[in-house]
């Protein structure tokens, strides 16, 4: 069921820039968008499609070229009031002189604290919660410039959480992170959306992670059209492939990922099962082989004493190999 007034909704929104007197439209045909409490939405799109511009516009960092943005049904907000509704994690590098993790997270209370920035007990408990939720307790006394990229990303998230807003927007939070950190961050955001009922909107290039974890995907095409929907729907109706497909990249609808090499014409007959079969098929495709029903080249993957083994049969000759590398050397 959908709430009567969404946290954020747009009408006829146009994003872009003013340079001097000229307008440069980045996305001129945006559909009406909605953010609901507890939703995790991933904003996907190729480089230069305007993800950051859309995020900056929705969060009020830059004015919209046209249309309206309503937050809790109201379209005019003072900067101070808006800061109590939307918090941000940006790609801007923060290297504040002498700033400790603790005081950086405390800055998140800026919209709530008094004119001198003194913190009361409510502020402190929000800060503590944000630090615990992101697991940066051990870093509290560290200086910002001594943090790694991953740590600094978590600290900036903690700052945004301390701001305690119903809407949280993140611009490419997974950039610069290694794979486990990316997964952990995504899982944390997913959990936060569920437990705190925050609406979380993030832009990312992690297509497979987004497909797994997003409640909804906003898919921005180069040229500024946007398709929204459940990630699975967008895969099934081909929107996903259309957004990213170029001559040398194709989307594998069964595996849910993008293929770099186009399938080639060398036929091979492949039999087997399990992970070894899956990875053999990938390797063969990379080498330009297309698995088909019947071919002269016949490869069977078997398990022998817990290890995979590859049996090759070609015009009567047979061979046995214990690694994919050896297999590929022989058949190429």
């Amino acid at each position: 069921m959908v709430a009567a007034t969404p946290l954020l909704s747009t009408r006829n929104l146009q994003t872009g820039y003013h340079t001097g007197k000229r307008k440069i439209v980045v996305a001129g045909m945006l559909p009406d968008l909605r953010l609901e409490p507890g939703q995790l939405i991933c904003l996907l799109g190729p480089n230069g499609s305007g993800k950051s511009t859309l995020l900056r516009t929705l969060s009020g960092l830059q004015p919209a070229l046209g249309g309206e943005i309503h937050i809790e049904g109201v379209d005019r907000w003072s900067p101070a009031a808006l800061a109590r509704k939307i918090s941000l994690v940006l790609t801007d590098r923060v290297s504040g002189n002498n700033l400790t993790v603790d005081s950086l997270v405390a800055l998140g209370r800026y919209p709530w604290s008094g004119w001198l920035g003194r913190l009361n007990s409510a502020d402190l408990s929000n800060i503590d919660w944000a630090i615990r939720a992101t697991g940066i307790g051990p870093l509290r006394d560290r200086k910002i410039h001594t943090l790694s990229d991953g740590q600094s990303q978590k600290v900036m998230l903690a700052r945004a959480l301390a701001q305690n807003t119903p809407i949280l927007m993140l611009d490419e939070p997974t950039a610069h992170l290694d794979l486990p950190s990316r997964i952990r961050l995504m899982r944390l955001l997913h959990k936060l959306a569920r437990e705190t009922r925050k609406a979380i909107l993030l832009s990312t290039h992690e297509l497979d992670l987004a497909l797994q974890i997003a409640d909804e995907v906003w898919l921005l095409h180069t040229g500024g059209q946007l398709h929204s929907g459940a990630p699975e729907d967008l895969v099934l109706n081909g929107t996903f492939e259309a957004a990213f497909a170029e001559e040398d990249v194709t989307f594998d609808i069964e595996a849910g990922n993008f293929l770099i090499y186009t399938p080639q014409e060398k036929p091979v007959m492949l039999a087997g099962e399990g992970p070894a079969f899956f990875w053999t098929r990938r390797a063969l495709r990379r080498a330009g082989f297309e698995p088909v029903g019947k071919a002269i080249l016949n490869i069977r993957v078997e398990q022998r004493q817990g290890h995979p083994i590859w049996l090759v049969e070609r015009s009567g000759e047979t061979g046995e190999y214990d690694s994919i590398r050896k297999l590929l050397q022989v058949i190429s």
């Binding site: 960092l61 940006l90 504040g96 002189n97 400790t100 950086l104 800055l107 800026y110 919209p111 920035g117």
Partner: protein, 347 residues
């Protein structure tokens, strides 16, 4: 959490140092007056030597008070500029306000040398003449107005920084034109003014300077929360509800008032504005402006008092211009701090 008691120790230490520097400044000069005599001047005036009483109360006390005001104002102005422009090299003169004050003075001193001007300078004395102060105030005020008008139209602080430097350079060029067409006597008078002097500010002038500096410092203290937010850059500051243009206006006003008034009364005093914020950050190990602003006041005051005491060249009659001493004492201090900081960071 162990940071707090340390901070208190440092604060007390600095206060003691400040008191010491103040007394040292009172005791040094063309005649050396012992600390005991100085205390007697204040505590039991009836028993004190009347000449020394006049020297201390009439000349050295106003000078020390001017050093306190200038020390606070210039270092807090420097801190504000360094945070606003996220640049450790920024100082209060970066907005061009100091150059504006100089232009006002140059206009009076060099402009054709009209009879009225020369007469006024002769009658009222060179430094601390109301005419010079008035001209400097007009120069600083109009530059500040120009900077403010431009700042409303500019999108980000980097542009603001460039505009400030451009305004300063235009102003200095105008002064150079005047110098080029003036006779050497006038140029020398102007040059002497640019060396800076804490000496000429007495009586009514001192009270006016005090009021203006206190106003500037109050505005600075009120902007401390905005300055904290600006540490994260303009985008984050905006996302936390700060309006960058409003913040910029408040901060530019405060710095211009401080730098403009101090330059008008004392001439351009360099270096304090760059060095003191670095020392404050290093000593107090914090980025919070609620702590850094008072810290800058303490350190700036102490440093300027010490510089002024050294400017008297103990045991000699000569007095060096304050501007020379601030650089000679300040630069090695900053280099030493930076060297210590790097060794800390590498491990």
């Amino acid at each position: 959490m162990t940071e707090r008691p340390f901070r208190k120790v440092r604060l007390t230490g600095l206060l003691l140092l400040l008191l010491l520097a103040f007394l040292l400044d009172l005791s040094t000069g063309t005649v050396s007056i012992s600390l005991k005599e100085i205390l007697r001047v204040f505590l039991s005036p009836s028993t004190a030597n009347p000449t020394w009483q006049f020297i201390v109360q009439g000349i050295r006390l106003p000078k020390a008070c001017t050093a306190v005001l200038a020390g606070c104002g210039l270092s807090v102005g420097g801190l504000q500029m360094q945070t606003l422009f996220r640049n450790p090299l920024a100082d209060p003169s970066i907005l061009g306000v100091t150059a504006g004050a100089s232009l006002g003075v140059a206009a009076v001193m060099l402009a054709g040398g009209s009879m009225a001007t020369l007469f006024a300078i002769k009658e009222l004395g060179m430094s601390g003449s109301w005419l010079i102060i008035g001209a400097a105030c007009v120069g600083a005020g109009s530059t500040m107005l120009l900077v403010l008008i431009l700042s409303r139209r500019l999108r980000d602080n980097v542009m603001m920084l460039i505009v400030g430097i451009m305004i300063g350079s235009i102003t200095l060029a105008l002064i150079s034109i005047w110098q080029y067409f003036s006779n050497p006597e006038q140029v020398k008078d102007y040059l002497l003014w640019t060396f800076g002097s804490l000496g000429g500010v007495t009586g009514g002038q001192l009270s006016i300077l005090a009021v203006v500096v206190v106003i500037g410092l109050t505005v600075a203290m009120m902007s401390s929360k905005m300055l904290d937010a600006l540490l994260l850059g303009e985008n984050y500051a905006r996302s936390m509800g700060l309006s960058p243009r409003k913040a910029r206006t408040v901060i530019i006003c405060s710095t211009s008032i401080l730098a403009g008034s101090i330059t008008a009364f004392c001439g351009p005093i360099g270096f304090i504005g760059i060095a003191v914020p670095q020392i404050a950050r290093f000593l107090f190990n914090t980025a919070s402006h609620r702590i850094l602003i008072p810290a800058c006041c303490l350190i700036g005051t102490t440093l300027l008092l010490l510089c002024d005491a050294f400017a008297q060249l103990p045991g000699s009659q000569a007095v060096l211009p304050i501007n020379i001493i601030t650089s000679i004492i300040g630069s090695p201090l900053v280099i030493a701090l930076l060297l210590r900081q790097t060794t800390v960071h590498t491990w």
